[in-house]
């Protein structure tokens, strides 16, 4: 029967889709583990730098450091971190939608974009935004030098006066099931108050100013590194959950089709028996 054959074929197709999604889920889980280890290892360094900077900044004249001085924000820049690849649920859609509304609020003409990850570049590049820089194809071999390279590029553009205010929009890793879109004020440097408090009276060598001058770029590098790690972990977590859901859906679909298949088979057999019986009865009469 044609119907039986069709159903059998569909079951086969879904079976192989299920295998693919399950494999993708396992790969994402492994990558997530690595990303979490990276995040764990970056934490002590980031925490200390943040703590010391926090301790120093109240005593420093902000206007003597270009990266600390507030300027009237005429040109704004947004760094948007997305993934290179899809199949990770609403990971990219959510951040792109939110980024777009933030940029709209700031004024599209006064905004320059730096896209990290191919998805963001494709999205904003097509829609006539001013994308001044983009990075892609590095997520697989992500390392600290990527972060320093990006931080340095942004800083030099900022110092040349290309823009006066830099925000980073990225997916923050909350837990495996949750990502939160976060907006962070990258430049000029402002610190939140949640850093560890350092109340030691330090001696500074060569001088307080020199230490700040060398500390600020270090801080920007590690912050960029943190954004990349957070986004990477969030991406893998999103992919893992959505592939898990896809695998489950495929399983449900297979169950349903199998039921349908059995019913169709049973119906076919019944019809055949009916034909035989009625044929035999016709002969008797």
């Amino acid at each position: 029967m044609a119907n039986l054959k069709v159903i059998r074929k569909r079951i086969g197709t879904i079976e192989s889709i299920k295998q693919v999604t399950r494999a993708m889920k396992l790969v994402a889980a492994a990558k997530l583990r690595r990303a979490q280890i990276n995040m764990e290892q970056a934490r002590p360094y980031a925490g200390r730098i943040h703590g010391v900077l926090n301790h120093l900044l109240p005593d420093i004249d902000r206007t003597t450091h270009d990266l600390l001085t507030m300027r009237p924000a005429r040109q704004k820049a947004f760094i948007i971190i997305t993934s290179d690849r899809g199949l990770c649920g609403s990971f990219n859609t959510n951040i792109l939608r939110q980024a777009e509304s933030i940029i709209m609020a700031a004024g599209k003409e006064n905004s320059k974009l730096i896209c990290i990850g191919r998805k963001g570049y494709e999205y904003f590049g097509k829609r006539g935004y001013d994308v001044v820089d983009h990075y892609a194809d590095f997520w697989n071999e992500l390392n600290f030098s990527h972060a320093t390279q990006m931080a340095r590029a942004v800083t030099s553009r900022y110092l040349s006066g290309e823009f006066d205010d830099v925000r980073v929009i990225f997916n923050e890793f909350k837990n495996v099931a949750q990502q939160k879109i976060a907006e962070y004020h990258y430049l000029p440097l402002v610190l939140e108050d949640d850093a560890e408090v350092v109340d030691t009276d330090y001696l500074f060598e060569p001088s307080k100013d020199e230490v700040v001058k060398s500390l600020v770029p270090r801080h920007l590098n590690i912050q960029m590194w943190r954004f990349l790690l957070e986004s990477n972990a969030a991406e893998q977590a999103a992919r893992m959950t959505s592939m898990e859901a896809a695998t489950n859906n495929a399983g449900d679909l297979i169950d349903r089709l199998r039921l349908e298949y059995n019913k169709a088979r049973q119906a076919a057999i019944t019809t055949e028996i009916l034909e035989v019986v009625s044929g035999a009865e016709a002969l008797v009469e």
Partner: protein, 135 residues
Amino acid sequence: MAGQFHLEIITPTKVYDEGEVDYVRAPGADGAFGILAGHTESIMALAIGEIKVVKGSVEKTYASAKGFAEITKNGVQLLVESAEPKGGIDLNRAQKAYDRAKEHLNRKKDEMEDELRALRALERSMNRLKVAEKK
């Protein structure tokens, strides 16, 4: 003996916990300096260079990039953007980075930013090679 203190070398990707040590020499921005137990609490900017750790009769060396040293009553933390123990330096990679930076410098003289970057890369790779080859 002046006693020992706790030393950690912290990078963005790894923490080297050295435990209790006797002496550290670090590459300060204004020249190398040594730290013994009981040092004044201070924060010092570090340049690219070599960190030497002395623990009893054992000596260890690291090739390190920029960062700073934080000295407190509880111990010393060296926060640097990269640190590689002497035996763990990838000579091949350092040599390649050295050659690349050299070539870059010879070719491009026009762009300031590029030149600065190449210079810094050159400095880092030279430091790795120097530390690795030292006895």
